[in-house]
Amino acid sequence: MNPTAGPGAVMPAWPEGGVSRVPYRLFSDAQVYALEQERLFRGPVWNYLCLELEVAEPGDFRTAFIGETPIVVARDGNGELRGMVNRCAHKGALVCLAERGNRRHFSCIYHSWTYHLDGRLRGVAFRGGLKGKGGMPEDFDPARHRMQPIRVEIFCGLVFGTFEPDMAPVEEWVGPTMGHFLKRNLGSRPLTLLGAHSQIIHNNWKLYAENVRDSYHATLLHTFYTTFKVNRLDMDGGILLSEGAPWHHISYAKRATLEEAAEYTQAQVHSASYDSRLNGPELLKTEDEFDDGITHSVQSIFPTLAVHFTLNSLCVRNFVPRGLEETELVWTYLGYEDDSEEMTRMRVLQANLTGAAGLVSLEDGCINEFVQRGTRGSGDAAAVLEMGGRGLESSESSRATEVSIRGFWSGYRGLMGYA
């Protein structure tokens, strides 16, 4: 494969219809997958890496991925956040094997090359040889060898990284609507970690990127709400796409009853319980935290990040490609440092709705695999995405639309050389 070839050489021809059609081949073609690593993940995007709270202290490090490329994020001795490829400049071995920890410097276990926390080479074992024999050439210059740096930036407690030196700041890149909502959910109060786990889903990463933007399927596939006569989450709601960057989106819903109650009581915060058939209704005990009436939201940030805030359950989802047909979906549950015990308890119980065993979301663990399996041998066939039209306009009154999926593909097409 020639990595610099145009889309015609590697990428499948896009059918008529623009973003309202998606060639199935994109989900199962190894050459496409390889080109995405270069053009998309290592291209002009900000990739979510980890939480700021995971690298809070000098010496803290956390490993992460940009596409398949291994990354380390570290807080250096001066308190600066650093990002670099997790690869020794000598033979290419992983430098950090642990997922997280605290170090004064990094050391590659293979030949004991050591690095400062910013990735600069600190020492080469036996550089001067042993007993005057062997060793590196006289002119070996440690300053010319280092772990490859990447740019990192923190926004709303999230650490992002990019290979692209000229990227606009994250806040500018996501746009004002997306930035405002990230601040609402993650940027207004100090965050605290409540728990994490991950789920291996057997599908191409883009099928999950579609799935998390797919408001059309939510009440059709995920029947928990209707089965248990829990209030539906599709009351007042809509889809917002980022200004000029429709590959990021917000899907939100408001429980109208809560709004009414708020008008009557004028209360800042009040409790509400669902009318449900649950034997354990405690599960859905909830408290209103914001004055905008939004009680459920999913926000996607291109390419592999989503944040959901369902009732009182706040969670960062990061879907990491682990191969052409395998994706690791990491669920990281959060609260705020100043949460009351009662609020923490609600967040903990409501975490049951999502995750690998989520009463609402568990279907997503298999549905994308069903598409992966269903599209094998599909030749030049393509998906049809016409719900809510064929364009890229925000849908402020209805979530019966696939506009945010079309938005994802508009970003994808631009990066991969179609547009």
Binding site: L194, G195, I200, L278, G280, L349, N352, E363, G365
Partner: protein
């Protein structure tokens, strides 16, 4: 001191609970717990860090019944079964006359097309009440060794 008879009862009880799951007698599963019993699935990593959100949490039998009803009527997934293999439990006396039991488990999952995988391995960290001729679970944490779940968990471990 846990006497031999108590140990025998506890071991039989733990086996019965695993068999109820493996034999798809899931409606019987909440009955192994006290009315206000607690069941959760979490990971070794979350436990080590003292983090409260795991993978599944049921407080009281009602939530367990909801889980079973949901998997029978609401949740959508590819049909599969478990086979539990339990290790012999380590038993200790705990506060309030309860018995703390730790037992290793492995769960092998078989899909409808015959594919088999080692789905889970971990420790049942149990607080059991033994008396009046019966054993009940007051608290069970199924602590998974791995933080990764393959596809999804819908049947309790």
């Amino acid at each position: 001191m846990i006497d031999a008879e108590t140990r025998q009862r506890v071991e039989d009880f733990l086996l019965d609970c695993a068999w109820a799951i493996d034999e798809d007698d899931l409606e019987a599963w909440p009955g192994f717990f006290a009315e206000d019993g607690r069941y959760r699935i979490t990971t070794r990593d979350n436990e080590a860090r003292g983090l409260p959100v795991g993978i599944m949490l049921c407080e009281g039998r009602g939530m367990m019944e909801d889980r079973i009803l949901a998997l029978r009527t609401a949740n959508i997934y590819e049909p599969h079964r478990y086979r539990h293999v339990l290790g012999r439990p380590r038993l200790r006396e705990a506060e309030g006359g309860l018995i703390r039991s730790d037992s290793s488990f492995i769960v092998i999952r078989t899909m409808q097309d015959g594919r088999m995988d080692l789905f889970a391995a971990g420790n049942y960290c149990d607080l059991l009440r033994v008396g009046n001729g019966r054993v009940t679970i007051q608290e069970r944490a199924a602590v998974l060794e791995s933080r990764r779940v393959d596809v999804l968990i819908v049947i309790p471990i």
